[in-house]
Amino acid sequence: MSDNLYKPDLMEVLQVERQTADVKSVRVRFQDAARARDFSFRVGQFGLFSAFGAGESTFNICSSSTWKDYLEFCFRRTGRVTEALWEIESGDTIGFRGPYGNGYPMEAWEGKDLIFIGGGIAMPPIRCAVWYALENRSDYGNITVVYGARTVRDLTFARELDEWSRHERVRVVQCVDPGGETPDWKGEVGLIPSVVERARISAANAVALVIGPPIMIKFTLPVLDRMGLREEDIYTSLENRMKCGVGKCGRCNAGPVYVCKEGPVFTMRQLRSIPNDF
């Protein structure tokens, strides 16, 4: 491996899947077989993915760390890099640096019920943890996934949501904003905080992972509080702008915390102790 911190590994694109009108997921594998063999990561970690000539962007590794042959990431088409990534096809080459960040404490969550709450493009960083838990099924209690998007067409990984719900002790609650439903929509209609409240999820021995727009998190937290979840049992993943991913370029900090190195995963209790700078 190069000692050049900023030089990515080259990855072969295996598969590109269109999730929504502006979201795609991509499966890639290391070109270098030895690197592929040695590579490991924790779910919840992220990488910097490059489209050469356009630049690199930060995305969660949304595949499970138990899957050994490839990595997946998912992005929404919003800027220069994602415009370029939007054009890639299987067989193309992209770059990857990582894994970076702390990841989810999956070991600490063993023996507990898992509650995953996500909105919109927040599914990928939840998906990796769901798959990890399913592949280590005996280590975890009940799994509840509450996932919402503006409309039915904005739901990502829709097939997998159905697949998860067929697993034992797994409940998937899908919801769309009022007006976003289709005639044959069987899921919930409503905003995530109220859907979570209606879902009557047992929080007795649970941890929650809540990822989504700040406004969604803000209104979901009181619901979780009423359910009896403690702040230290509610986790989230921050998405601050990053360039280096390794704590040097100076832009991702929230107060004294460098999100790229000391995050992106925090408990709500940790977040409350750092300044509102994210």
Partner: protein
Amino acid sequence: MSPIISAAALRELIDVWIKSGKQVAAPVSIAGRLLYQRIDSSGQAVLDSALRPANSIKDFVFPRHERLFGYRIEGRQISLTDPKPEERDQIVIGAKPCDAHALPILDHVFAWGSNDEPYERGRRRTAIVALACTAHDDACFCTSVGSSPADETGADAMLFDLGNGSFELKAITAKGRTLFTQHAQPPATEPRPSGSAPAPRFDPAKIRAFLATQFESPFWAEGTLACLGCGACAYTCPTCHCFDIVDEGSAAEGARVRNWDSCQFPLFTAHASGHNPRSNQAQRQRQRMYHKFAIYPEKFGAILCTGCGNCARNCPAGLGVLGVLEAIDRQTIKTDERQPVQT
């Protein structure tokens, strides 16, 4: 006692360095302004212990624009090439102590968790010969951040201007000793002129106390109104080190480069979604002050400031970090404004 070296001998030595293929940088006078620049003859160097350049020496170890690697796209295949590393020895002569001091401070972050190879190489190949200050101006405040006009931190060798056309030479590191092996002359007998230290400009304890409790203070909006949001302070600061990474080139080939960036620019933290955690100048100024005087000290045990005063000297709005610090120093912290201390 350290040896002395005449100014003439020093210039001869600089030319020897240059002729032997070393890169040499020094303060140079350009249109009435002193700036650190690479030189190709000792005659360009302005070795004046009373003058402070308007930029910093960080450009020589952490360049404003640097290639991280090259890329070449051929069909679906991509090849990456490491840049040809600059391995020549480099000497910065006549660095101000406040510039030299910045490098050991920067070492912390560039080695934090992982080694930043380009920076590390820049450090490895560079020797710093600092020139102790004998004068200060209205913007100098080294003494307020725990430094002094003759601070040796970060220097491989120190020169002290004896005021008679010669310098007392003190080698500090092995690298510094190697530079001057041929010039071990008779020891200095005259006493070093004592540098004129700037009077304290603010109370560091008060700054600490303010930052510890006043993150949400209205001061940040009121006290930073003059800031125009340029990067003149950051880019001439010896310790500011934030950077951007971008690809430059054609669709066929190009390079990923790293460029200086500044927390004072709105786009610095703007998310792709449009959300910006620091969407106004007050928040950006606040970040700058916290980074330098709270976050960096907490993480690495060093203030991210050497008191060189370039921020104030170069600020078109007469503010700079110094201006904000002085304004904080004038604040009275009202108890009802206190915030819970951060953990």
